[in-house]
Point group: C2
DNA sequence: AGCCAGCGATACCTCTGAGGTATCGATCGG
DNA sequence: CCGATCGATACCTCAGAGGTATCGCTGGCT
């Protein structure tokens, strides 16, 4: 199975439409149809049920979509990490650390300072991304290491070290009746009339269905809360980002959030090991 | 990057010889040379230093060898798991569980019975393999789930549940002076004159350098011990396999061995979930 | 009921590029 | 200094990836 075939199949499986998938891939529709047919013939498996009007995935197709994405990420990671290794030999780039924009705002500077103080430390490029994107960046080699937050982010398939834990606070628009409380419970926050939890993208970059506005990063989120259109439960450390129009109230029974440093399991780079060591010593 | 290029590069990187690699791949040497050159050009990276007499990996080449193997395993896993999913729809195969031949001889029957008693349980094919092979089989999709033994086996990149823990015993040839002791320490076992620890294959299937005979499975291992050519420290449960010519003596300060059930992180199959549930209830 | 728009499959052509054979050029062992 | 070994180069062939034109089926609209 060639990566070209996998790319084509993943495109069709995501679009469920040969024409759009072909456009996305920058090829014409007929070769795409043929490539999928050939893939099905070679695997001796029906991946898609096509009824001239609609395309749907078979059970085997679902499996190949999931596994194929992982395989394509692994190939992309091999490509990127090889390029970076070559650059590293000539001296430049160092490590790419990715974290959610707005998160870990206290921990991150401490970590970078501690690592920079190590002998032989390389420059660290900090990459900020939207909610739920880190996993992908780490998996396909665009980042070397990430700060993740359990239980929100999946750490499946990565090596991790725990860095810190904290409770969570509910964020409410200033002036909301509950802002006078000293603490809340989850069921009180869940039931707030007119203040649903916002939805953010899952690992595939799509927004799940349901009520609540869509939020891609913390700026959008805070704005939605200030506008009285949403509420959210976030780690305590988000207090350092609070604006005057948003108020934080501790939520006693919310799950504890653990910040972990995560990296792909095969990584053997000395630079990465040094960063992890610095992190665990904080 | 196409999987063909990755396969070619991995072959050359492993053989460090274009002719032999080409033979292994079933192609002629010139196209292989050209394919590697093209890969290097496309990556803009030198992967191999060739001095007309010898071929060596550059640092970037080492990275691509490691990452490329992982990527090829992921592609192979996508292929195999898709085929199996299609077969599962027509009714046949169930799950493939892999464990070291000779290990978990008590736990395994209990696990299989417990799972078989579940409603909707599928047939489980048990695959026995040599030491250090399970990781590979799980990673490239030939197996769905494995019983691994920490700290011997790496569980990096898999989801796991702990099943049981046990101490370790030293295995000595019958009649050896130390067999009269009630217990030993690691340093006593390490220092046994003429009884080195055997070597077994690492994750790449090669034997590490060093003293001691090579052992591929427990049968070979026991034979070597009975012959007075080696000793070994293994989990207590290996006692059930003891032959009359091999004696087990507890080693108090050897690390505790934990048997875990491990599976690839993306797996979402109901059958696998049922097996893991049965395992954790044991 | 009939027509049209939308979509995947098919037919047929082109040309890239993967693979083969023959050979060169460099290097190391004897 | 010679021959064996090994990777690179030159040159050829052909499988197959991709493009255009078109077909055939289906569902919605008038």
């Amino acid at each position: 199975m060639e990566t070209r075939e996998l790319r084509y199949f993943v495109a069709v499986a995501e679009e469920l439409h040969f024409g759009r998938a072909a456009q996305r891939l920058g090829i014409a529709q007929p070769p795409l149809s043929r490539a999928i047919q050939q893939l099905e013939r070679r695997l001796a498996v029906t991946l898609l049920d096509r009824t001239n009007r609609t395309v749907t995935l078979t059970e085997a197709g679902e499996v190949l979509l999931r596994e194929g994405r992982a395989a394509l990420d692994a190939v992309a990671a091999a490509d990127r990490r090889t390029r970076r290794a070559a650059l590293a030999a000539t001296g430049q780039p160092g490590l790419v650390l990715v974290t959610k924009a707005g998160a870990a705002s206290e921990l991150l500077p401490k970590l970078l300072d501690a690592y920079a103080a190590e002998p032989g430390a390389l420059p660290v490029e900090v990459m900020l991304c939207g909610i739920g994107e880190q996993e992908r960046l780490l998996r396909d080699g665009r980042a070397d290491v990430a700060l993740l937050h359990r239980p929100f982010d999946s750490t499946v398939g990565f090596d991790t070290e725990e860095l810190s834990s904290e409770g969570q606070v509910a964020l409410l628009p200033a002036g909301h009746p509950l802002t006078t409380e000293t603490h809340l419970r989850m069921d009180e926050v869940d039931a707030l009339p007119g203040l649903p939890m916002p939805r953010w993208p899952d690992a595939t970059g799509r927004y799940p269905d349901g009520p609540g506005p869509q939020a891609h990063d913390t700026t959008q989120l805070f704005q939605l809360i200030a506008l009285g259109r949403a509420t959210a439960v976030l780690p305590e450390s988000c207090r350092s980002l609070l604006r005057s129009d948003v108020v934080a109230v501790p939520v006693l029974d919310a799950p504890t959030v653990t910040t972990v440093i995560a990296w792909p399991p095969h990584s053997r780079s000395r630079a990465l090991a040094g960063l992890v060591r610095a992190a665990t010593r904080l």
